[in-house]
């Protein structure tokens, strides 16, 4: 079957079985690897992407169900205001450890901030409990979401060095 899906503003024509989850279309067909496979049964949230701005678990969403809706992945979430603020806060708080789940965490957090500019602890619990982090970076995830929402530094300690990208 041939499907046209719009990912990060760009249409992609993919020829694949209609039951193929969006995750594998993004990773194995389109070749974007920021979205991760963790469980395959919508239990861990590593595969979270946005569908018209709402977070979905792409590991259980058949490509045939995407339709005309806009898919946004970690590669482009920084182009939205909430996504950019979340990523900046993630860096300021230095959330990541192994980093594998963090694309999904950031997608869930960006969607939360988009619909709720001032989330409470309970709101954060509700929006983020579908995302497992085995390194258990949850304490800093919570701090980063609050920082992104308030714009105020809530980091418990100074982090004096600019993060490094390395050479191109």
């Amino acid at each position: 079957m041939s499907f046209t899906i719009k990912v990060n503003g760009r249409p992609h024509v993919v020829d694949i079985a209609g039951d193929t989850p969006l995750l594998w279309v993004i990773r194995d067909v389109i070749g974007m690897t920021g979205t991760k496979f963790g469980c395959g049964i919508a239990q861990c949230g590593a595969c979270t992407v946005h569908l018209d701005g709402a977070p979905v678990r792409s590991c259980v969403l058949p490509v045939s169900a995407v339709g005309n809706r806009e898919v946004t992945t970690i590669e482009a979430v920084g182009e939205t205001d909430s996504g950019k603020r979340i990523q900046e806060a993630w860096l300021a708080v230095d959330v990541v450890q192994c980093g594998y789940c963090q694309s999904g965490q950031i997608m869930s957090a960006a969607a939360l901030l988009q619909r709720n500019p001032a989330p409470s602890d309970a709101d954060i619990d509700a929006a983020m409990s579908g995302n497992i982090c085995r390194c258990a970076t949850y304490v800093r995830i919570r701090a980063a979401i609050k920082q992104a929402a308030s714009g105020k530094i809530v980091v418990t300690q100074a982090i004096p060095v600019t993060a490094i990208g390395g050479r191109k």
Partner: protein, 731 residues
């Protein structure tokens, strides 16, 4: 935002594995060299394979004529922030900013990157900083010394009159400056300077400060490539199924239906497993589901958890013990005795196991995240019949290790399939395969005992540990002369407390062949700290003493550990009143050369549900390198340990692991996460480990808190809520 720019489009280029032939050239091989800051045999070839930098004074520092400063990381990055910590050690003495460097994965080489403590290029056991704290600083200092000496000679001044700021050498009296890049070629021709002076701790610019991780930006942007993200021209994607029964084999296979599924390109079989190869993972998974497989379940076909537990109990009761440590003898008095049991655990790294392999007639190339790169290479050589120098490993970032990637089984298996395929093959385990074929943390069945003096303090400590041996399987030569597995008695044989008489022994009870046991974050300390610190808490309560005050008396000869106990107690507000069914627990220990005290506060509902309210951890890990990552490791590590203590147990029926995914192997989530405060002692002692410390101290603090809240002593993990429900309530 000025301090925290997202470096969109800039990626940490990770090289490594460009060529690894040099690893194996030295024959006859000298005894393992281990990391050294000095130039050694093998350096020249390693540098040549690493872009032939103008200046490569040792295995760690490369400066190109272009000015690029590249640091080679001997350990692998799996979340513990070792890349940042190692770079801090090197950059501190090299006098460059962390924003000026590029990070490279080291290629596999025990000679150049082997760790003293683990005797090889192995990332594990919370040994990385302990193994390299001096050596990496010396490596940076040697590089700086050589670069400065070129500038000083050129200017005809004393090297000591020069200073370096951010990689630029200055001679202030004459106002002259030269960048490292300008002297790199000349410095590259100089001999090793021998011993060099290191900075005194008071002169540190980086060490001891909270530095942002070097890998944050890429990970936040989704740019980091983990093993599972590898993509090669012509690559196919496979998923695998091994015989669900430990030690079973593949008997018969009908793949007719599988081969009709669009996207499926191949079905490969090896002795105990089958791989379905496709153009994408989903097609491979569908193809796997369509396979008609018959297994030879082998000798473990009827194995159950109960049978394993019964066997362990029998060995505990009757097995011959190997002596670990004995001090004095047991005095007269009432023998207080308790039995503690721990379950098997799976690792469930966030990134499911995977490896990408391309085998040709002349070469075997591997892309994988591994904690044991040189073992991967050696095994691949054996499996393919190629010479080790024909095997190339491209190390990748690890989406979690926790000890699972100290094993090579998932890479070995991918090599075996890739040998049949001959095209580049990425093998990805499903989460179900990942949990059902974990190499589990072994179960334990220990009997622990004490005799108390008139005041209620132990004058005798007895501990009879019974378990399978991880070390005996993973590195048989690591067992002590009498066959003792030192890991089995870690943190039990060497108590922080003053107890005059003790006997700690171990009964080896092997699992059935095929059921492999492995390292799991926290290792021996995780097991014994739960048992010792729970039991000592029992003793304190038995004498109606406050568990903190009671421990303090036993720590009278141990000021460093007393300090973390007092610090945690002060920050927790230990002793302040609490509502009913709320309790605080304390646990302390000295795992991995670090002193730690954790305090956990819980509320237990009438139904027996445990809610974590808050946690405080005080840690003295010696001289702290990166206080930011120490905090992160303790926070995450503690929650990792609490998650397992609350929820996790691997069980076996019909010879197979029953758990399969996060729905039946539950993980702690955001809504269950308490505030975790970390307080770091400003120590000047030698560095201790940090990556496993929080995990190892979590469970006893939790169980002791639950006792304080409910009066129920938990001597088994995971926690069973039905034991904690109040009368009249159902769990």
């Amino acid at each position: 935002m000025s301090a925290h720019q997202l470096s969109t489009g800039r990626r940490t280029l990770l090289k490594g594995g460009l060529a690894v032939a040099f690893t194996w050239l030295a024959t006859p091989k000298p005894a393992l060299a281990f990391v050294t800051p000095h130039r050694q045999a093998g350096d020249a070839l390693a540098a040549a394979a690493d872009g032939a930098p103008a200046f490569a004074p040792n295995a760690f520092v490369r400066i190109d004529a272009s000015g690029a400063i590249r640091l080679v990381m001997p350990m692998v990055e799996m979340g513990q922030a070792i890349y940042t910590g190692s770079c801090m050690l090197l950059a501190e003495e090299l006098d460059v900013g962390l924003d000026q460097i590029q990070v490279e994965h080291a290629p596999p080489s025990d000679d150049l990157y082997g760790m003293k403590l683990l005797k090889g290029q192995i990332t594990g056991g919370s040994t990385s900083t302990r193994s390299t704290f001096t050596e990496l600083r010396q490596a940076g200092a040697i590089a700086r010394t050589l670069l400065v000496s070129v500038a000083a000679a050129k200017w005809k001044v004393e090297p000591a009159s020069c200073l370096v700021e951010r990689g630029v050498i200055h001679h202030r009296p004459s106002g002259r400056s030269l960048a490292y890049a300008q002297v790199a070629v000349a410095a590259g021709k100089l001999p090793d300077p021998g011993e060099v002076k290191l900075k005194a701790p008071g002169e540190f610019q980086l060490i001891g400060k909270p530095m942002a991780r070097l890998d944050s930006s890429d990970k936040v942007l989704g740019l980091t490539r983990f093993g599972i993200d590898v993509s090669l021209p012509g690559m196919r994607i496979a998923t695998v199924k091994a015989c669900p029964t430990f030690g079973g084999t593949l008997a018969r296979l009908n793949d007719r239906a599988t081969r009709t599924i669009p996207g499926v390109v191949d079905v490969l079989r090896i002795g105990n497993a089958v791989a379905v190869v496709a153009t994408n993972f989903w097609a491979a998974k569908r193809g796997m589901e369509a396979l008609d497989i018959e297994w030879n379940h082998g000798p473990n076909a009827r194995l159950t958890t109960k049978a394993l537990r019964d066997g362990l109990a029998a060995s505990q009761a009757n097995g011959k013990a190997l002596l670990g440590r004995e001090l004095g003898s047991r005095p007269d008095g009432e023998l207080i005795q308790a039995t503690y049991k721990l379950p098997m655990l799976a690792h469930a790294t966030m990134e499911p196991l995977n490896a990408t392999v391309h085998v040709t007639a002349e070469r075997c190339e591997i892309w994988a995240g591994t904690q044991v790169p040189t073992r991967v290479v050696a095994n691949a050589a054996k499996l393919t019949g190629l010479a080790p120098e024909q095997v190339v490993l491209h190390p990748q970032y690890l989406g979690g290790g926790f000890g699972r990637r100290l094993e090579t089984d998932y890479v070995d298996q991918a090599v075996a399939f890739a040998r049949l395929a001959r095209y580049p093959l990425k093998v990805i385990w499903t989460r179900e395969e990942d949990i059902r074929h974990d190499i589990v943390r072994p179960m334990y069945h220990d009997v622990i005992s004490a005799v108390l003096d008139a005041k209620g303090y132990p004058v005798w400590f007895g501990d009879r540990v019974c378990s399978a041996t991880v070390l005996g399987r993973w590195r048989p030569g690591g067992l002590r002369k009498n066959g003792l597995d030192g890991d089995a008695i870690e943190c039990a044989a060497d108590l922080p407390y003053a107890v005059p008489n003790l006997k700690v022994e171990w009964v080896r009870h092997d699992m059935p062949p095929g059921l492999l046991v492995g390292w799991w974050r926290g290792v021996g300390a995780l097991h014994n700290l739960f048992i010792v610190e729970s039991f000592f808490d029992e003793l304190a309560h038995r004498t109606k003493a406050d568990p903190v005050a009671w421990r303090k008396v036993l720590l009278r000869n141990n000021p460093r550990t007393t300090a973390v106990l007092e610090l945690a107690a002060a920050k927790m507000g230990w002793g302040s009143p609490l509502p009913p069914r709320v309790g605080r627990g304390v646990a302390l220990g000295e795992p991995f050369g670090t002193r730690v005290c954790a305090m956990v506060e819980v509320e237990v509902s009438a139904d027996g549900d445990v809610r974590l309210r808050r946690a405080v951890v005080a840690v003295d890990c010696g001289i702290p390198v990166n206080t930011g990552s120490i905090e992160a490791q303790i926070q995450g590590g503690l929650l990792f340990g609490l998650s397992a203590a609350l929820y996790n147990e691997i069980t076996i029926d019909n010879g197979a692991i029953q758990q399969s995914n996060f729905n039946d192997y539950r993980m702690l989530r955001m809504n269950e996460t308490p505030e975790v405060q970390v307080h770091i002692v400003n120590s000047t002692e030698a560095p201790g480990g940090i990556g496993e410390v929080g995990t190892a101290i979590a469970a006893p603090a939790l169980a002791n808190a639950i006792f304080a809240a409910t009066g129920v002593r938990l001597r088994e993990l995971p926690i069973r809520r039905e034991l904690l429900a109040q009368k009249g309530h159902t769990a």
